[in-house]
Amino acid sequence: MNHIIQTSDLTMRFRGCDALRGVTLHVDEGTVFALLGENGAGKTTLIRILTGFQMPTSGTCRIMNLDPAKDALEIRRRAGYVSDAPALYDWMGVGEIGWFAATLYDQHFLPRYQESIRRYEIPEDRKIRHLSKGQRAKVALSLSLAHDPELLILDEPTSGLDPKVRRDFLESMIDRAASGRTVFLSSHQMAEVERVADVVAILHDGIVRVCEPLDTLKDSVTEVAVSFEDPLVALPTLPAPAEVLGEQSYGRQRSMVIRHYDSGMHDLLASRVGVTGVSERALSLEEIFIAFTGKSPSRESIDRAEVAVEIEGGGV
């Protein structure tokens, strides 16, 4: 499969702050690629570099086999981009802005745009300034999709959209991917990403912590809850390739998020003297994201683990 986006060791330094620190990514054609990261992780910087608005401090980047720094115009012609807060001309009407943008694309742009606007049920004669936030987002999306781009880059695309439209939009992203188009989106909406993304990358402190197909990622990360007779009992070091992403203790219980965990490790932990129970739980994408970005698992997940341990412990 061809890589529609390739970055190699991208770094970006802003006034004493490293926004990106050696980002290397490969996005395949026909996929929905989700870039996850906290605020300030470097997502928008990466998108700016991909769309040719920003030169990186170092590293290389190619989009559709084009250099964004040199061929920004061609990339913008073939790609669609929606920023998190698109600033449209608010004095224009909905129809007018479509006509205006159509003068910069081919003749199919306007009919597609009008069709999209009709689907979203936005009156064409209404001024942009009189639209709600969600309606503006719909107009921005319609404008970015109307030229049927090979690559669609979306920065927080669904903020402001109501649940129904959000669902429709996400399904249309899946359809696009199915038709061979590529969607690159950055989002905080884990549930949405989980629903549509083929591949997920988590960016943390300017570094790509993980970049894997969603299913693989979810399969590879497990939350393990261990119960002890004595809280001072030490656990054995898990063999490679296991990687403990996070660990927390609550009295006689310990919770760990482990990547590449397998049944052999369960036995290893369970056989440890002083361990009264070991339970595993598959994590949601949000929990995986938090584990990768160094946040504590929620209290709720700990409680769930505790219950599981008690049940297991009871059965032993």
Binding site: F14, R15, C17, R48, L88, A101, L104
Partner: protein, 841 residues
């Protein structure tokens, strides 16, 4: 070419749509200012003169605002982010913006010339249009005009290019607009510097103005190219991918796609000390916020204001006094700076979305309002102190220029500055587009001041009394500030556009209505005649006119055989009528009075000609009185008496009111002459007897006057209805009556009513006197109609005091009184005495 146009039609359409409001606002403001200037009182001559050139300012103002609309606004609202995410090259985008703006500037120039043409049609440029500030050269006028034409157009283009440069270079719209000012004047500075260097080397040798103008043109052209190139570079930097090096080094550089705020990660920001204690007053917090951001813009405004203060006060200081004209420019720029300060109050951190931060935390609208104005209080307070200080130093320094120095009183300056500020902050709150606010604020300030001046001069202020006038003026003065205070809640809640303006409508109505109050009072109390009275007047006038033939003869000095005086060449390249120039007149020179076949027809005599006749006749009388035995003097006086008698008879037949007053003056002169002891010995002379007959023949005086009033009114009315210039009534200048006291608005309101009323009350005066009643009420009304409310009736020409026998001589023989106050001496004491004597005789 066509393909490129088709591909760019969307962009062109967008740019045109963005510029349209600016063009409309400027044309509207220009038209209002032109109207105001035309309505201004005649005694403010400079206002009229400057007002003619308002259309010329419109393209310049447009050039200032263009870049703010097409670049600054896009950068501020970040629409350029979306625009550049589409497949359009930076070069194409910049080109289209520049081309459309230049084309729009051309359209503004066409509009400007159309307005000038309109002004020429209404007579604003009697000698043809001429650019201001040009030297008065007759032989080089054409080429100077052509160079001026090119210079004005090129300079507006240069300003446009400057605007583009500053808008691309400086992200802050306000600062970019202010930065245009020094750039716009830069070519002039270069020209003056060049002139200074030239004088240093070759002395103050004459330089051909055309050469000088062409040099200035070349400098502007070069400056346009240089600033254009800089602007292009700045634009490309903004629209091209941001370079990593630049991003990492320059914290303040604009990038529309900047990820972090300006304060992120900068050592300077993080090391800034945060006060231990927060502000306890919301207003003080907002005040601190006022100069926390937009520092560049604020610095520019302060610079301009303080330059204005220095310019207006430092004229007496050495090295400053020599540029008195520059001082005037600085004063104007200082007031413009105050206007900018007013707009500044509601921009940047004064925007609704920023103030909402405070509003959402319970700050009252009054506190928000006060907080936003504290900066202006501080700035204007400091500027006042500086004004006082520099003014005192300037006056105390002994320099030649000090004698020419006029420093307006501090109170006047403060009142003017606060007024400019208050109007501007009102505009700033109501108009979202900064460029429109900044251009509209000084225009609205000037227009409102001129309008108030034009209306106040109507005279009603005297009628309503000083206390009420002062109270109204105070309310009017503070209405703009009150308006922003009252609409502050809506503003802070994010209400904008037409809804916000609607909140200001009551205040606007009050602001417009207050100056109209004196005008309304004047209108209500004006002695307007009723429609019935006017109908009656019209019927009488039509009847009187049918029986009268308008005289075609006009008394003038001619040769004794009835020809015009010979014209001779004089030194100094001018010609003159020989006798007039030599003052060698005799009664015989009034030959057309003697034309036999015209004896039964009336004659017209202009006031100046009559003044000459009266002077010459009086001179002959003085010569005779000095030498009663001189036969030549006696003959000359006889000749003059004969001429005056005949002239009086013919003037009585004239249907013009002024000729009746001339006839009265002759009768008075003849009676006065005959009463002298020197004439008593010559009563048997035919001329004397003819004069006595004229004096005794009082029959028909009243009828002649009545007929003259009616026919004069009839002719004036005919002229008015036919569209002919109806500027005279019965030989009197209507403009002299109306303009002096009532301004242009007064003319428009009262012109027709005034003439109707004067004619009616003259007739009423005749009726009253013929019936032996007192005419004081009629005379009071006439005095008010003609003199306005500025003159006390008891001291005016219609008073009993002016109609006493002793005073009548001065009134009748004084040209100014006779040619301005119709019927002032009708049935006065001297006339009644003559009538009494005639009865006795």
């Amino acid at each position: 070419m066509t393909g490129a146009l088709i591909n760019s039609r969307g962009l062109i359409w967008k740019e045109v749509r963005q510029l349209f409001p600016l063009a409309v606002a400027l044309f509207a403001a220009g038209l209002v200012l032109m109207l105001v200037a035309q309505m201004s009182p005649d005694n403010i001559y400079a206002m009229r003169q400057s007002g003619r050139y308002i259309p010329l300012a419109l393209p310049g103002l447009f050039a200032v605002g263009v870049a703010a609309m097409t670049v600054g606004q896009e950068r501020e609202q970040k629409t350029i982010l979306w625009l550049t995410s589409m497949p359009i090259s930076p070069g194409r985008l910049i080109r289209i913006k520049l081309i459309v703006s230049t084309f729009a500037l051309g359209v503004m120039w066409i509009g400007c010339w159309a307005l000038i043409k309109l002004e020429m049609m209404v007579g604003a440029f009697p000698g043809g249009f001429k650019f201001p500030l040009l030297p008065s050269l007759s032989h080089e006028a054409s080429i100077t005009q052509q160079v001026a034409f090119l210079s004005w157009h090129l300079h507006t283009f240069y300003i446009l290019v400057c605007g583009f440069y500053t808008s691309w270079r400086i992200k802050n719209s306000f600062a970019s607009l202010i930065a245009i000012v020094p750039l716009a004047f830069a070519p002039f500075a270069v020209i003056h510097l060049g002139e200074y260097i030239r004088r240093e080397h070759v002395g103050t040798a004459f330089l051909d103005p055309v050469t000088s103008d062409l040099a200035a043109l070349a400098v502007t052209l070069i400056a346009s190219v240089i600033v254009g190139a800089l602007g292009w570079r700045a634009a490309m930097r903004v629209l091209s991918p941001a370079s990593a090096e630049k991003e990492s080094k320059d914290a303040n550089r604009f990038s529309p796609y900047a990820v972090f705020g300006p304060s992120f990660g900068t050592s300077g920001e993080t090391s800034r000390r945060v006060p231990d204690q927060p502000f306890r007053s919301t207003s003080l917090a907002i005040f601190r916020q006022s100069f926390g951001s937009n520092r560049l813009a604020l610095g520019g405004i302060l610079f301009v204001i303080f330059a204005g203060v220095i310019g207006s006060t430092a004229g007496g200081l050495p090295y400053v006094g020599s540029s008195r004209n520059g001082g005037t420019l600085l004063i104007i720029s200082g007031l413009l700076g105050v206007c900018c300060l007013g707009v500044f109050a509601f921009t940047g951190d004064g925007k609704a979305e920023r103030l909402r931060f405070f509003s959402d935390r319970g700050a009252s609208p009054a506190k928000l309002w006060l907080g936003r104005h504290l900066l202006a209080v501080a700035v204007l307070g400091f500027a006042s102190l500086l004004y006082l200080l520099v003014g005192v130093i300037s006056i105390s320094v002994d320099s030649e220029d000090r004698h020419y120095l006029y420093i307006p009183p501090l109170t006047v300056v403060i009142l003017l500055a606060v007024y400019c500020y208050s109007i501007s902050q009102w505009i700033g709150q109501n108009f979202r587009a900064l460029s429109i606010s900044l251009l509209l604020a000084p225009a609205a300030t000037a227009a409102s001041l001129f309008l108030a001046g034009a209306v106040i001069s109507i005279g009603g202020t005297t009628r309503i009394g000083a206390p009420i006038t002062i109270a109204l003026a105070v309310v009017w003065y503070f209405v703009p500030l009150l308006a922003t205070l009252l609409s502050m809640r809506a503003y802070a809640d994010g209400v904008r556009g037409r809804k916000l303006i609607a909140k200001s409508v009551p205040a606007l109505i009050l602001f417009v209505a207050i100056p109209l109050i004196p005008c309304t009072v004047e209108y209500v109390s004006y002695p307007i005649i009723t429609s019935t009275q006017r109908t009656s007047l019209a019927q009488q006038a039509t009847k009187a006119n049918a029986s009268v033939r308008m005289p075609i003869d006009k008394v003038s000095f001619q040769t004794p055989v009835g020809r015009h005086l010979p014209v001779v060449n004089r030194t100094g390249d001018y010609t003159s009528e020989v006798a007039y120039d030599d003052r060698d007149f005799s009664a015989a020179h009034l030959a057309n009075v003697y034309v036999d076949d015209a004896q039964k027809r009336g004659v017209m005599c202009e006031a100046t000609t009559f003044d000459g006749i009266l002077s010459l006749a009086s001179f002959a009388r003085v010569r005779f009185f000095q030498s009663p035995d001189d036969q030549a003097a006696l003959a000359e006086l006889n000749e003059w008496m004969d001429t005056m008698t005949k002239l009086a008879r013919r003037l009585r037949r004239s249907p013009r009111v002024i000729d009746q007053d001339h006839a009265d003056a002759i009768v008075f002169w003849l009676a006065d002459t005959l009463a002298s002891p020197q004439c008593q010995m010559h009563l048997d002379r035919p001329a004397v007897q003819a004069a006595q007959e004229l004096i005794a023949d009082r029959q028909g005086w009243s009828d002649a006057r009545r007929r003259a009033v009616l026919v004069s009114w009839y002719n004036w009315n005919e002229d008015r209805q036919s569209g002919a210039p109806a500027d005279r009534f019965g030989g009197y200048s209507i403009d002299v009556w109306i303009r002096t006291h009532r301004g242009m608005l007064g003319q428009w309101l009262f012109r027709n009513h005034t003439i109707d009323s004067i004619a009616f009350h003259l007739l009423d005066l005749l009726d009253a006197e013929e019936q032996g009643q007192s005419s004081i009420e009629q005379r009071k009304t006439l005095d008010e109609l003609i003199s306005g409310t500025y003159q006390v009736f008891g001291q005016g020409p219609y008073s009993d005091r002016a109609r006493r026998k002793g005073a009548s001589q001065a009134a009748l023989l004084n040209t100014e009184i006779r040619s301005r106050y119709p019927g002032a001496q009708w049935f006065a004491a001297w006339e009644k005495e003559l009538a009494q004597n005639a009865i006795t005789d």
